[in-house]
């Protein structure tokens, strides 16, 4: 048998499968599991009064009837107590993918959970690790993987498990469009994707008369092809969309314009207009030209369209006044990305929003460290795709912002105003 996920020539007389989704209905309380899984975390409700861990999600503690149930991270360690392989399913999505392995796991923290089951897990009873991932419907799904593994560090044969591959977006064997190869980050991303096993990486570059350093090395990589793409030019986006739209499995939009200063320090609209044109309207143009084709290929064999990645900024969550107009353009892009996510959902194509802290480039020159290197960020994006997360906050700065923002957005706003 060939390696799962390896691209084979498509039989041209067969109909491309229509994307189907696993059952997406969930109670509101169960969406807490999804919210954590979007970040790659496995969290369960824990009773604040007696500490009992709850599952399935519920409105009150089954031990003491306390209502204060808090979502808290879990290790996922447990014992596989029973397993089955489905050869019949009542749902069309699973029917297309039979046989399907399932496991019942007694977590060390208490509850019994029903999970998808990685093919590397030995017959019950055995130790496993339960992780939470997003399934094709964008809802949390628990997966039992062999004890002692991390998905993003799994070897190729393990990460290519057919069930896991439904819930992750590993770049291996995918065809990827990267929208800007002229920046440090773009070049680092291209190199990271190539070494992650991507079949083809198309790298966009605008204004071909400018040849920034690094572009030549990029061109030498075997699976990299440079393609003309200017996200501020509708015709350019349209033309590339017509050429490549039906082939792109993963689109990574890293094109961005970034100028420091807020409102008072920079008169006129030129900088702000450029930022909006690239960061917001650029995304919109790409979404209009590439979105529909990717939506139609959500279940196109073993290497279907799988993910759309937006390089946003942690400043999209709350305005960083020192980079005020940039923050505003990233906030606009973030909002649009949520719309895109809703529209890609019926096809099972994941929209991964990346919220990095400041990158160590010329536009963040006067910001203090720690700053992300392009290479670190590029590797984080690849890991995020392998992990199948939906929101990614790479680096210490982004993680700290996330914690502060989740704690209280208003407090964060004041802190940022005071930091000027």
């Amino acid at each position: 048998m060939s390696e799962p996920g390896r691209r084979k020539r498509k039989n041209p007389i067969l109909r491309t499968r229509v994307p189907l989704l696993p059952p997406s209905g969930r109670s509101r309380i169960a969406l807490g599991l999804t919210a954590a899984a979007a970040l790659g975390r496995f969290e369960l409700q824990v009773c604040a009064a007696c500490g009992t861990v709850q599952y399935p999600p519920r409105e009150a503690c089954h031990e003491c009837l306390c209502f204060d149930l808090r979502w808290q991270p879990q290790s996922g360690a447990g014992e596989l107590i029973s397993a089955t392989v489905l050869h019949h399913s009542h749902d069309l999505y699973f029917r297309d993918r039979l046989p399907w392995r399932l496991g019942m796991v007694r977590l060390d923290c208490g509850p019994t959970v029903i999970t998808h089951l990685h093919s590397g897990v030995r017959p019950a009873p055995c130790r496993v690790r339960v992780v939470a991932r997003l399934d094709k419907a964008g809802q949390a799904a628990l997966v039992s993987i062999p004890d002692g593994y991390n998905i993003s560090e799994m070897a190729a044969d393990m990460v290519n498990d057919t069930q896991l591959r439904e819930m992750t977006c590993d770049p291996r064997h995918r065809r990827i469009l990267l929208t800007d190869g002229k920046t440090l980050l773009g070049q680092a991303l291209a190199a990271a994707l190539v070494s992650a096993g991507a079949d083809i990486v198309w790298v966009g570059f605008a204004e071909p008369w400018k040849r920034p350093p690094g572009l030549e090395e990029l061109e030498k990589l075997e699976s990299v092809t440079l393609v003309p793409l200017d996200v501020t030019n509708s015709d350019s986006v349209k033309s590339l969309g017509a050429e490549l739209g039906a082939q792109v499995d993963i689109l990574i939009n890293n094109a961005e314009a970034h100028r420091p200063y807020g409102i008072a320090a920079r008169p006129g609209l030129d900088a702000a207009r450029l930022e909006m044109d690239v960061n917001y309207l650029g995304l919109l143009r790409l979404a209009q030209e590439f979105g529909p084709a990717m939506r139609s290929r959500g279940a196109d064999g073993q290497a279907s369209a799988t993910a759309w990645v937006n390089l946003l900024s942690v400043f999209a969550l709350a305005n960083f006044p020192a980079h005020g107009t940039y923050s505003a353009s990233k906030a606009a892009a973030y909002s649009l990305a949520q719309c895109l996510r809703a529209e890609m959902q019926p096809a099972g194509v994941r929209v991964l929003n990346v919220f990095p802290g400041p990158i160590d480039d010329e536009w963040n020159q006067e910001l203090p460290p720690p700053k992300l290197t392009a290479k670190t960020l590029a590797q984080a994006v690849v890991t995020g795709l392998r992990d199948g997360v939906e929101d990614l906050f790479p680096g210490e700065v982004a993680q700290e912002w996330l914690a502060r923002w989740r704690g209280d957005p208003k407090v964060l706003e004041r802190e940022l105003a005071m930091s000027r």
Binding site: I81, T84, V85, L86, H87, H88, H90, R106
Partner: protein, 391 residues
Amino acid sequence: MTRPRQVGYDDLVVTTPVTIPYVRHSIRGAHWFVAHALRALLEGSSLHKSDLDGLCLSSFTLAPDTAVGLTQHLGLSLRWLDHIPMGGAAAIVALRRALRAVGSGDAAVVACLGADTNHVDTFRATLGSFSQFARDAVYPYGSGGPNASFAFLTAYYMRAFGARREDFGKLCIAQRENALRFPRALFKKPLTMEEYLNARLIAEPLRLFDCVMPCAGAEAFLVMSRTRAQDLGLPFASVLATLERHNSFPEDPIQTRGGWVLDRGELFARAGVTHRDIDFLQTYDDYPVISAMQIEDLGFCGKGEGPEFIREHSLTIDGTFPVNTSGGQLSVGQAGAAGGYLGMTEAIRQVTGRAQGTAVPHARVGLVSGFGMINYDRGLCCGAAIVAGPR
């Protein structure tokens, strides 16, 4: 927790078991099957519709109606009404409620009725919305329905207690043998061990003949006072004792026992009979593993000794320890909530000498067991009743 003192069921009886013949699929609504069962109850008891003043109803396919809607739909004016959505335990629970209603004088004649239709897509459509936990934490995992749930329980049971596929096969084959004597059974051909073992895989280790076949149909019976039944000249059975338990062992990692364990001693003590006096057992049998569990938990053998018990008995009508004398749901079909009533109507027929082709010789005392509602990872409702015919 101290055990409440239970009042007995003296002077109360159960009578007029009716079965509306099952069909694999029907274009009729559940209301049609309820009406048929009701009519059969009245014809069988010579009662008029206005004599009926209580109704206890179980159905999965009545939506958006409940038992309330049925009163108007079928023109029933009642003074006592209950809706029991407890699946395989519904008949036991309905019987318990109805006995109390008649015993206390809240109602004179209560119809207990399980009925469901089965359109071509009904079964699939009900799975995703079966319960909040099922929708949140089971159905998104492969959407196997009860097959997957029982595959987990069966695989675990086999590993823990040394049960073999052949043991479950013997139970299924014995029930099929019984079903060949029950004209209303949907399965009419004998089942061989080879066919059982090599049938299509459904959810490992379960294969096709481990799984009930959903169908449409209805089952019902009446509860009334002994004097009323005698006045009407109806054959009747007494209810010696009953039990009911819900969510009994939440701390068990996976279900290997049910609530029967907690009350079986009292059940037999109050009934004044021993296990040796039981002439036949009707289990709730949507999958054979749960029948084995009921045989153990009702005390016919120890925990984990079910497989050995199955090997030692013929389980057929004429043999030792008859189980599911109609053929059970595995061979008759699972008519939704009526599946929970199948064992009860068959037991009443047995102890009142009306079982015809399936009659267990000299059957006087029968045990009916109910099990239902896989809300998440296990069945929550357990029930049992010991019924007896005239000496």
